[in-house]
Amino acid sequence: MLKIIDLKAEINGKEILKGINLEVKPGEVHAIMGPNGSGKSTLASVLAGRDIFNVTGGKVIFKGKNLLEMEPEERSREGIFLAFQYPVEIPGVSITNFMRAALDEHRIHKGLKPMDAAEFLRYIKEKKALVELDAKLEGRAVNEGFSGGEKKKNEVFQMAMLEPDLAILDETDSGLDIDALKIVANGVNKLKTKENASIVITHYQRLLDYIVPDVVHVLYNGKIVKTGGKELASELENTGYDEIKNDADNQ
């Protein structure tokens, strides 16, 4: 589904991604861990099409297409979804209007007619239930004045609405209380099918107890320095990154 080959990216002349290789197949869950500032969010942003990052090398193939040539909105319609580490406030635009606009675009792209009002309301209600999004948030502007946890829930709600092929969840667990974490993880699991895949960026084993990864990668200093099974995450939880850092730095 997704193939990243030797991807390099920089910002303001500073290289952040230094040759990433990663392949994600349908039905898989990949976890990416790694110390602060190692480039995890940058990778997610580059995949979503953030233009402040300059791709200086490599390739990304998504469902057989050259992802890097597409605008962010095309990537979304093709099936990429990024749950932001820091969701952005959209002042004055209600969640309903926002999702209406997004869903219409996705449906047009798929050759479907936009939903009528009743159909849309039913759909949005169903998806809200999935992440137990507070009804009070419905009329409010997207993320405006939301608590940290509400913002994260709202990301997963949007993911549920758009049903992506590849979801990238950037620290969606941070800021969630224990109950909310379960709800969100549950939501993600319910959305999982044999055809779709996800990349879960996290610092904590805790999330991976709920969303069990098939593969765990460690990103350090712009490179994937270690890859393993789900046990790698619990190992790191105990040992920290020191050893991995040392090994990588000494190479």
Partner: protein, 444 residues
Amino acid sequence: MTNLNEKKAELINLQRNNSSPTKKDLLIEIQNELNKLSLPHSKTEEWRNTNVNSILNHKYILGKKESVPLKYVNTFSFNEINADRLVLINGHFSDEYSHFNKTSGIQMGSIKKNQKSNSFKKYYGSTNLYKSNFFAAYNSAYAEDGIFIHIPENVIVEHPIHIVNFIYGNNQKTISQAHNLIIAEKNSHAKILTTYHSLSEDFTFNNVATEIICSENSDIEFYVFEGEGDTASIVNNTYVNQLNGSKFLSNTSTLCGSLVRNEIHIDLLGEYCESDLQGIYFPDKEQHIDNYVSIKHSKPNCKSNQLYKGIIDNKAETVFTGKVFVAPDAQKTDAAQSNRNILLTDNSKAHSRPQLEIYADDVRCSHGSTTGQIDKEALFYMKTRGIPELKAKTLLMTAFIGDIIEHITVKPYRDYVNYLVNKKLKGQEPESLCHVKICPACEK
């Protein structure tokens, strides 16, 4: 300065003497004031960022009592709201197109026809608009007609009153003046809608003055829509006196025009008044739009709010000046002010000037001003959900000025403004819905 004096003399010479409906003694006083006043120039503080030369550099004729085809009057009317309609063409009242008196007891029509009424005599000029403001003084001295509305005590006007203003040069550069007087007696309530449209390609200058008297506990909603064409300039002075417990809302939408200068002066003469002044402006060519708002808190316990937002595209330039004066004994004043601008291009410009003069100590005054580009982070976020750039921008900007449009309580009018704003956001000319160019030859 000689140039300015010449210009002033030229403007005055254009006008007919003795055709103002004003009482003799007041007229003399107004003319004395006018004599003392100079046209604004580069050193005039209140006009610092607005150059009137684009208005003054033309030789005008005085607007005639033209007739315009009915279809245009209908285009710019809101039939659904069943409003009382008062039509001014080049500042002259049109008997033909005006139809009113849907609510009994209200006196309305042209000021010419109402100049003998006691309330006209009592209130014309009573907001002191002719003191210290050249264009308002010029208007007060020479405007021949305008709209007169008198709402008696306890009358609630159910239908909005729509004043439709046309300026039509008919192949000549034209100056037009209207002087409107609106009197709301105690406990009365009315919604007044004034829209401005131009009907010609020739350069026109509309110099409007409106006086509004809000008596005790009256409640007036005053909507202004400016949709004149690229060759039409307007100086629109509104002076409001508010007495105890009165509420005044003004909501202005400026979508087109050449040079637009709106001044609103609120004099809070009573206690427990509320004044809510809102506006949007959305120029997208080389327009210059200037909103000057001044609120004088003379008495305690009043509340005022200024909220102006602009989207400025292309090479347009805007100015917002928000003045709040709080007199020493105007304790418990609550005054808020906010001006926010989004610049869509590098060549667009917005000046924002809050001016607070506070001489009382127990007050709440806040002001804020922001000018910036459209939020790139928000745009990217929206795009990652599949929304294309243009649509995302439209959503953001609609939301940005939408809260001001939402305050419009006359639904068909609100829909009209929303419709035009959305059209503009999509980069389409609102043209024929704001202003048209009549071609006299084709009409015949």
